[in-house]
């Protein structure tokens, strides 16, 4: 049975959360519906915002699977094959969380712009990275790099590798062991890492602002579109965009929470 906390503590916590999250979010939704449903539907007709939403979806679809695969691989490498190289990666992988995104954007631009370090090979290959879609994906990958592996590393350490070795002694090959034992054990932690990555990519502003060039209708993601709407005194479209992003993140968290709860119930003691 869960212990009940004292009334005053619950009051403090609820008030704090309401003031920090609930009230601002409520105001955003209020402004979003300032012109009623018809106004909201009309706002979605704005071609700049539609293009921005579509671009954000494309960035998420590219970035999240990439960082999930890399995150699982890096976590397995760091925990299962310790060496000075993997320990070095273990340290470096947190760097994106410690550096301000705008600095990450500037660093990427210096390296990948047409007059930058990789400018010549890019031109030779006919690639445009900065001020276009690949640059936005690159920045998104960078800022959300450790979010999956950070969820997995402590879990992998706790699990050890006895399950895998037992599976091998029962006759299973490496692919089967990876799919039926390793990946299954990591499922929920990975899902959590994926949702964090998605939320981070959806909300990224600074790094993407620099590398994308913020060209409306072309390289403007939804967060950049929100920013530019506010700058252009079009607060209504800004609130609509913000509401869309907030709702998406809340839905992701809710779905994950329900799924996790169900999974946990399945494993709970039936007494």
């Amino acid at each position: 049975m869960m212990k009940t906390s004292p009334l005053w503590l619950r009051f403090v916590v609820v008030t704090y959360i309401l003031l920090l999250v609930g009230v601002p979010l409520g105001f955003d939704y209020q402004r979003m519906f300032a012109h009623g449903w018809s106004g909201l539907v009309a706002a979605f007709g704005d071609p700049m915002m539609r293009s921005a939403m579509w671009l954000t979806v494309r960035v998420v679809v590219m970035t999240v699977p990439l960082n999930t695969v890399v995150g699982v691989g890096v976590a397995l490498w760091i925990v299962r094959h310790p060496s000075w190289r993997s320990r070095l990666v273990d340290r470096i992988i947190d760097v994106p969380l410690a550096i301000s995104p705008i600095i990450i954007g500037l660093m990427l631009e210096l390296a990948y712009a047409s007059n930058g370090w990789f400018g010549r090979p890019e031109a030779a290959l006919g690639l445009h990275i900065i001020f276009s879609f690949p640059g936005i994906v690159l920045a998104s990958v960078f800022v959300s790099l450790p979010l999956v592996s950070r969820q997995l590393i402590p879990l992998l350490r706790e699990l050890g590798d006895h399950q895998e070795q037992t599976a091998a002694s029962l006759g299973a090959g490496p692919v089967r062991i990876f799919l039926s034992i390793t990946l299954r054990s990591l499922l929920w932690a990975t899902a959590y890492g994926v949702s964090l990555t998605t939320a981070r990519v959806l909300g990224e502003y600074g790094a993407v602002l620099i590398v994308s060039g913020n060209i409306a209708g072309l390289t403007q993601t939804l967060t950049l579109n929100i920013g530019s709407n506010f700058e252009n005194y079009d607060a209504f479209h800004g609130f609509v965009g913000a509401g869309v992003l907030a709702t998406t993140s809340i839905v992701i968290l809710l779905v994950l929470g329900i799924a996790r709860h169900r999974e946990r119930k399945r494993h709970e003691h039936l007494a």
């Binding site: 050890g160 006759g171 039936l270």
Partner: protein
């Protein structure tokens, strides 16, 4: 299936873990690899299972050289100390794992798993998950999972160490009778000499990566080849300049012994531990049954004569 270990050696870096191990585990026996922590016994077990590489020497399973065979092709049942349950799978699917890998037909899997569940008395738990089981139940599940592949040999790494004393004691007896019924060659690793004596019909005593002695438990206990084996298999006490078993000492009425004074009397259930200090300031302890101690009415400060029982 017998297991032959021929000149096996293994080092981790420059640290030798096992040196020139030679032994034959007889077909159908239950052999205990007994040794203190760091003696290399678990590494040896893992090498036999194929979970650790061999530096030198050969491992032969009933005439088949498996030294470099990968674990999954050895057909050896292996149970970890923590039982390594597949937490994401039900008890049924845990036991069925090896059969599914072998592409056994579904009806046969169903039948064989039900039989194994009955064997380990977990029929009612088929749909549970490992986290819903007690330690003893998890161990039985792990045993059933290992037995499902009809292994040629069964290897158990410290099978009772993670259980509380009572459950561990019951399971020892159960594992012993199960092994006896199935007749499967079994090798278990333990640091607990009482456990090895109770369960095994053969013990191999390891120390610092070498085999000190191997043989029947009672033979090794009665005729230890050196001081290490003697002291590892049971308590010893110094007497007349040599180490002897405290239960081999007794009080005598004649003068054919060493005279001393009772310095302490400790009652431990059925037995009584009597500490005796001799004239030259050395100390021994004598293990008596409670009945013996009462008969002699041993009391503090009493002058006694100690001799080796004959």
């Amino acid at each position: 299936m017998s297991i032959s270990l021929e000149h096996l050696s293994k080092s981790f870096g420059t640290e030798p873990v096992l040196t020139d191990i030679n032994d034959v585990v007889p077909d159908g026996s239950l052999t205990a690899l007994l040794g203190p922590s760091g003696s290399g016994k678990s590494t040896l077990l893992r090498m036999i299972a194929g979970l650790e590489t061999v530096d030198q020497g050969r491992i032969v399973l009933h005439g088949r050289d498996v030294t470099h065979t990968p674990a999954r092709r050895r057909n050896i049942g292996f149970c970890f100390q923590d039982y390594a349950p597949f937490y994401q799978l039900s008890v049924f699917d845990n036991i069925a794992y090896g059969l599914k890998v072998r592409r056994t037909a579904k009806v046969d899997i169903e039948r064989e798993v039900r039989e194994l569940l009955a064997l380990v008395r977990l029929e009612a738990f088929a749909d549970r998950y490992p986290r819903q089981l007690s330690g003893g139940q998890r161990q039985r599940m792990a045993l059933a999972r290992a037995l499902a592949i009809k292994p040629e040999v069964l290897l158990l790494d410290e099978p009772f160490a993670a259980l509380d004393a009572q459950v561990g004691g019951e399971l020892r007896q159960w594992v012993r009778s199960l092994q006896h019924d199935l007749g499967i060659t079994t090798l278990l690793v333990t640091h607990n000499q009482a456990e090895a004596m109770e369960v095994a019909d053969r013990v191999v005593i390891l120390n610092h990566g070498r085999i000190e002695q191997a043989g029947e438990p009672s033979a090794v206990y009665d005729n230890p080849v050196n001081h290490f084996v003697r002291s590892f298999l049971g308590p010893t006490t110094p007497f007349n300049g040599v180490a002897v078993r405290p239960h081999d000492l007794t009080f005598v009425d004649s003068t054919e012994g060493v005279a001393g004074v009772v310095a302490d009397v400790i009652r431990l259930g059925f037995e009584v531990r009597v500490v005796v200090t001799f004239g030259d300031d050395t100390t021994s302890w004598v293990q008596l049954t409670h009945e013996e101690a009462q008969r002699r009415s041993v009391t503090l400060g009493q002058p006694v004569t100690v001799a080796v029982r004959r």
